[in-house]
Structure formats: C-alpha cells, structure tokens
C-alpha cells in the first residue's frame, strides 16, 4: 500500500511536470509566431487600422489589394526574377564545385590532402569584412561592378567552405566497397563520383541547396556593395528601397516583407527533414 502511494505521487509529480513543460513550450511558440502573425495581419490592414489601439488582429475590412499594390509601386516582380536568377546560378556553381572538392577530400588518396582540408576549414573562420574591400577593388578593376558576376562567380570556385565540409562528412559515411566494386567493373574514379556518390548523397545535396537558397535569397551586404542600377536590384535591395521611400506605408511594407519571406519559408517547410539533418550533422549553422 505504501509503495503504491509513493509511485502514485511520483507519477502525479511527473504529470505536473509534463503539464508545465507543455505550457512553457506553448507560450514560447506563441511568442515565436506572433511577429509573423503581426506582419501578415498588418499587411491586410487599412492605413488607419495599423495605428489603431486597441489592437486589431483580424482586420476589417481585409485589404487584399495591399499585395498587388506593394508589388507594383516598385518593380518587385523584376526583383524577384533577378534574385531567383542569382540564387539558381549560385546553387549550381556551389553544389557542383563544392561536391567535386568534397569527393577529393572524402574519397581519393593524395599527398597534401590533410593540409588542404585544414585550409578549407580555416576559411570558415575568415570573416567576410577583411576581404570585402579588396574584393571590391578586384571586381572593379575587372569591370564587374553593377553586374551579377561578383555575386555568382565565386560560387563556381568552391563556394562556401561550409558546403564542402558538410558534403565531405556525408560522403565519408558511404561504404568504400561500392567504389572498389565499381572500379573493378571498369568504372573510372570520376564515374564513381558521378554514378555512385552523387546519387547516394541526395539528402546531403538537398541540405546544401537549401542552405544556399536561404543565404542567397536574403543576402544584403554583397548586393548592396555591387549593384547600383535599380533595374538590377535583388529583392533585399528592393525592400530596402521600399523602406526608404514609403516608410509610413506599413501595410504595404509588411505585404512586401511577407512576399519576400514566403519562398524561404516554403523551401524550409518542404525540405525541413534535410535541413534539420544538416544542422545536426555539422553543428555549425546558426
């Protein structure tokens, strides 16, 4: 009897604890979500409703026109296309050149491999600000200013060391016996990369693609330095322009912000499995 009451009180205290955990988590989730809701809610309001106190969460009337309006006061469709183009090229360049280097680090035996790999990792620590100004001068002397080349070309030369690191770690987990078997069957070493390693690494490649999309879609400093012609602006620069010129039109600003966040949120939502794997796998991102 005594034993039972102890276990009963134990399970009771466990239940209390669990209730507290859920409560805390739900409060946290609400806080996390509120800024998004506030953004969307504001994007559907009349200007007067934006300032109204007490707070209106579900606007009446709902002003859907804010969306087409926000997209036409500035050529936002063009900005979206520009950003998509840059992002796509960066994705192709960085995944291709990055996975080639990662393959060499994970799969081939060569003198100097360890030294080179340490070098790759060391560049992870290299802050962008020390190379920002000389890069600008370099690209200026190549007459690349006001083009997309400074934003895209570096991606084709290995891209971020982070991608190489992540892919290399993943390639290492694939059994080497597959390589040997393929080579005995007459496959070339490059064939091993192309026909075996890449197809088996779809998850890791997806992770890399998602990281690059997220990064490039929202990148601000680099386009800010290199792009001057407003027709060539990316989404981030367009938003900034918007904020400069229409600072008090909060409902339009929030509509534009919502539109610009949507692709990133969708990519994350549909690829979250890979995304979370990648974050855990490297422990780096963030």
């Amino acid at each position: 009897m005594a034993v039972r009451s102890i276990s009963e009180s134990q399970s009771k205290s466990k239940a209390v604890k669990l209730t507290f955990v859920y409560l805390a988590l739900i409060v946290g989730m609400v806080i996390v979500i509120l800024p998004f809701l506030w953004m969307v809610s504001t994007s559907l309001k009349t200007p007067a409703a934006v300032f109204k106190i007490p707070t209106v969460w579900i606007p009446n009337p709902i002003v859907w026109e804010n969306y087409p309006n926000s997209m036409t006061v500035l050529p936002f469709v063009r900005y979206i296309m520009n950003t998509a183009q840059i992002t796509l090229l960066a994705v192709i360049g960085a995944t291709f050149s990055g996975s080639l280097a990662a393959f060499a680090f994970a799969r081939l035996r060569w003198r100097g491999r360890n030294f080179m790999f340490v070098l790759v990792l060391a560049t992870l620590m290299l802050p962008f600000q020390v190379i920002m100004i000389p890069q600008f001068i370099l690209f200026r002397s190549l007459q690349w200013l006001d083009t997309y080349l400074p934003l895209v070309v570096p991606a084709f030369f290995g891209g971020s060391a982070f991608n190489i690191f992540l892919l290399r770690q993943y390639f290492m987990t694939i059994s080497r016996e597959l390589d040997d078997a393929a080579i005995i069957d007459g496959c070339t070493r490059f064939g091993v990369y192309w026909r075996i390693i890449l197809p088996l690494s779809k998850a890791a490649l997806m992770t890399v693609v998602i990281f690059i999309v997220q990064n490039r879609w929202q990148s601000f400093l680099v386009p800010l330095i290199y792009l001057f012609d407003q027709k060539k602006y990316t989404l981030a620069l367009g938003l900034r322009l918007f904020q400069d010129q229409y600072t008090t039109d909060w409902e339009l600003m929030m509509a534009a912000a919502t539109v610009s966040m949507l692709p990133v949120l969708l990519v994350f939502y549909f690829g979250q499995r890979y995304f979370i794997q990648g974050v855990v796998f490297t422990g780096v991102k963030g």
Binding site: V21, M125, P127, I133, V264
Partner: protein, 316 residues
C-alpha cells in the same frame, strides 16, 4: 638472405623515392577536382586578404592614387577617431549579451523539448521558423514591432500597465532591442542542443537516480558538462557572427541615436563605401579581424576550465 633483404629494402626505397611532382592518376584527379576551390581561395580570399593588409598602410580614396602612410591609419584609430572605440564598445556589449542569452534560451527550450513530449517534430519546426528568415524583411518587421507608438511590443506591455520606451530611438534601449531581436531566431541552436541532449547516455541519469540525485543536481552535474563541447562550439561561432552584425542596425537605426548602435561593420561600411576611405576601412577591417581572433582564442583558452571532453584525463 642478406641479398633478399637488400632487395626488399631497395624496393621500398624506390617506392619512397617518387618525387613530389610525380603524381599517381588518383592524385592528379584529386588536384584537378580541388583546383576550382584553390583558385577561388587564392583569388577571392587569400589574395584580397593580403591586399587589404597592404591597403591598410595607405591613404586611398579610390579616385586619387594610393599613398603609403605607414601605420598612420592605425594611429588615427587609436588617438584621432573616438567613433572607433564607440563602435567596438557597442559591438562587444551586444555580442557578450546576445550570444550567452541565446545559448541559455536555446538550452532551456531544448531541455523542454527533450522531456519526451508528443508532437516534437511540429514544435521544433515552429521554433526553427524565425531562423530561416533574415535580413531586410526581418528588420522591417521588427521596426514595426519595436515602434514606440503603435508597435506590438509596447501594445503588449500596455496590457500589463507598462508604458514601453521608444526602443530604437532611446540610447538606453537601442542595444537591448537588437539583443531581443537576436533572441527571436534562436531556433538553429535549439536543434543542435537537442541533438546534444539526446546524445547523453541514459546510464548516467540512472546511476544518479540510484544515488538519489534530484533534477537540479542532474542538470548541473551531468547534462551541462556532457553538452559543454556543443555549447563551446556554438559560443565561438555565435561570437564570430555577432561581432559582424550589419543588416539590422544598417536598416533600423543607421547607427543612431547618437551612435549608440554604431556597430563596427556599419562604421566600416560607411568609411569604405560612403566616404571611399579604402585604406582606413581596410585598417578597420584588420583591427576587427584581430579582435575576433583574440576573443576566439580567449574563449578557447578558457574552455579548459568549463568544457568537459569525454575520455580526457584531468590533472595530468
């Protein structure tokens, strides 16, 4: 017998004698595959880095020829330009507040998530959402949230009878605003800490149960030491990131009010791309770089005291 041995020996000698420039097919392929990265590293990273060191010794305004002035840029930073000190102060206060708070909050949420709850995947996704968005759009949303007159934060504070400050235009609250904003996107950390927590062996907790240890003791004596390498890594990465904060202050305050949010990167951008003081901006970049390295080294040195590595023998 001796002859055989000699043969074997000379055989291995021949093998080892392969010159550094004689590559096997495999090695040749490896260098070809890594070549794009090497070119990128030399052209876009190492080259520019060295160039910036040289630039930092010049006065160069882009439109006139560069002039060698030795260490004058560095001297100017120390004695002639109070904004440099201000920028480093602002950036350091921000980083040393934001990063530890982010880690503490991230661990707290991860601990809650680790309490074998239902719907883990969904909840985790929700917490991660803010970490996926960044840059201008986020800064715009927070401009609205932190607005003194009709922002969401002050409305919420109003509900409990507190009159909130003008967050971004008050010198006393502007840095706190950026810290608050950085806490919103703590999600990536949460996932990493959660993975760390799940890697702590259960036997340790069972043994502690036998000894009658409570939750509090278990957290401080088992959980925290076991995940300290993860925290350490996140601390280093977080500091490197925070010390380079740019988009938020650039869009939301332009360094104001009264330079109270003049982050180093903001000042660097201003010198380089608004005043075209390329030499001075390069010197500033190097000082920031060295500052980041020194802080990182300090953190690494201190880690011997507070980071626990399994299999490490203490006191030897």
């Amino acid at each position: 017998m001796a002859a055989i041995q000699e043969n074997v020996a000379s055989g291995t000698a021949r093998k080892q004698k392969r010159q550094w420039y004689q590559l096997t097919g495999e090695e040749r392929l490896a260098w070809v595959l890594v070549l794009p990265w090497i070119i990128g590293f030399l052209a876009f990273q190492l080259g520019p880095m060295l160039a910036s060191l040289a630039l930092s010794l010049t006065e160069w305004r882009m439109f006139t020829p560069a002039e060698f002035i030795g260490l004058a840029n560095y001297a100017e930073m120390i004695s002639g330009d109070p904004l440099v000190l201000q920028a480093f102060k602002v950036t350091t206060i921000y980083s040393l507040t934001s990063v530890p708070l982010r880690i503490a909050l991230g661990v707290l949420v991860a601990l809650l998530l680790n309490a074998s709850i239902r719907g883990l995947a969904f909840i985790r996704t929700v917490y991660y959402l803010p970490a996926t968005v960044s840059g201008v759009a986020v800064a715009m949303v927070w401009l609205l949230i932190l607005n003194g007159d009709f922002g969401m934060l002050n409305r919420a504070l109003g509900l409990i009878g507190i009159e909130g400050p003008y967050w971004l235009t008050d010198t006393r609250t502007v840095l706190a605003s950026f810290v608050l904003m950085s806490l919103w996107s703590v999600g990536a950390g949460i996932i990493i800490y959660l993975a760390g927590l799940q890697g702590v062996p259960n036997e340790l907790y069972e043994a502690a149960d036998v000894d009658g240890a409570g939750d509090w003791v278990k957290f401080w004596r088992i959980t925290l030491p076991m995940i300290s390498p993860v925290l350490f890594f996140q601390f280093v990465i977080g500091m490197i990131d925070a010390l380079q904060e740019f988009a938020g202050p650039f869009i939301m305050t332009q360094g104001g009010p009264g330079n109270a949010s003049l982050f180093v990167m903001l000042y660097l951008f201003r010198q380089g791309f608004e005043f075209f003081q390329m030499g001075y901006a390069s010197a500033l970049a190097w000082v920031l770089f060295v500052y980041i390295m020194v802080l990182t080294l300090l953190i690494i040195r201190s880690s011997a005291v507070w980071v626990y590595y399994e299999g490490e023998v203490k006191g030897s």
